[in-house]
Amino acid sequence: MAIEVRIPTILRSFTGGAKSVEGSGDTIDALLTDLDSRHAGLRGRLVDDSGLRRFVNVYLNDEDVRFLGGLSAPVKDGDTVTVLPAVAGGMR
């Protein structure tokens, strides 16, 4: 079972420079844990104790996983997960 995960430039230090990697799992949570077993530290950049970090966007196919249940969103073979750094900021 393989799910393609597309990695942004800023996190490619965890994937040996690869733009995409493959993983497995039934949920986003399980997938990120699986990825972390081969790309140590990657999960910690995406997730903290309260869930997905606000600095990143994680998409399942064409949808923001925040609208699909976050870490518990179900995933399956053939899905594509895309990670992008959130672009945000402001006066304070």
Binding site: T9, I10, G89, R92
Partner: protein, 139 residues
């Protein structure tokens, strides 16, 4: 140093003025590795706030995919401050995660004054850079 064509800079300033008093944001895309901004993409500020901006996540996915397809990258990431100077705030610095991008800030606090500054933000370190405005791409 950021080298930016006059027409692209004018479009950024016009976007910032139009959205004032809310913060405006967007990107200038350019060929990957070129450091040359060529294509103006205004983004929706999902926060619609005078003190905060965030790219709408679905719009960002579409724009980032389009850049990928065209072999482009975000050369410039711009946003406006509407009541303070054009200098990165602590929030700006904590969110800055594109080490190759020029972070362009526009302040719209003075209606008649053009206040534009550009920065690199890498690992939380802000470095201001010169902005060189060149002739427009399209006359």
């Amino acid at each position: 140093m950021l080298t930016i064509p006059r027409d692209l800079l004018d479009r950024i300033i016009a976007h910032a003025r139009a959205d004032h008093p809310d913060e405006a944001c967007g990107v200038l895309a350019g060929p990957a590795g070129s450091d040359r901004p060529e294509r103006f993409v205004a983004m929706t500020n999902a926060e619609r706030s005078p003190t905060f901006y965030r790219f709408d996540s679905m719009e960002q996915l579409a724009v980032w995919r389009e850049m990928d397809d065209r072999d482009e990258e975000p050369v410039v990431i711009y946003h406006s401050h509407t009541a303070t100077e054009a200098y990165p705030s602590r929030t700006d610095i904590s969110y800055a995660m594109e080490p190759a991008a020029h972070y362009l800030l526009v302040s719209t606090r003075e209606p008649e004054e053009e206040e534009v500054r550009s920065f690199r933000i890498i690992d939380g370190v802000v470095t201001e850079e010169q902005v060189q405005v060149t002739e427009s791409l399209v006359e």
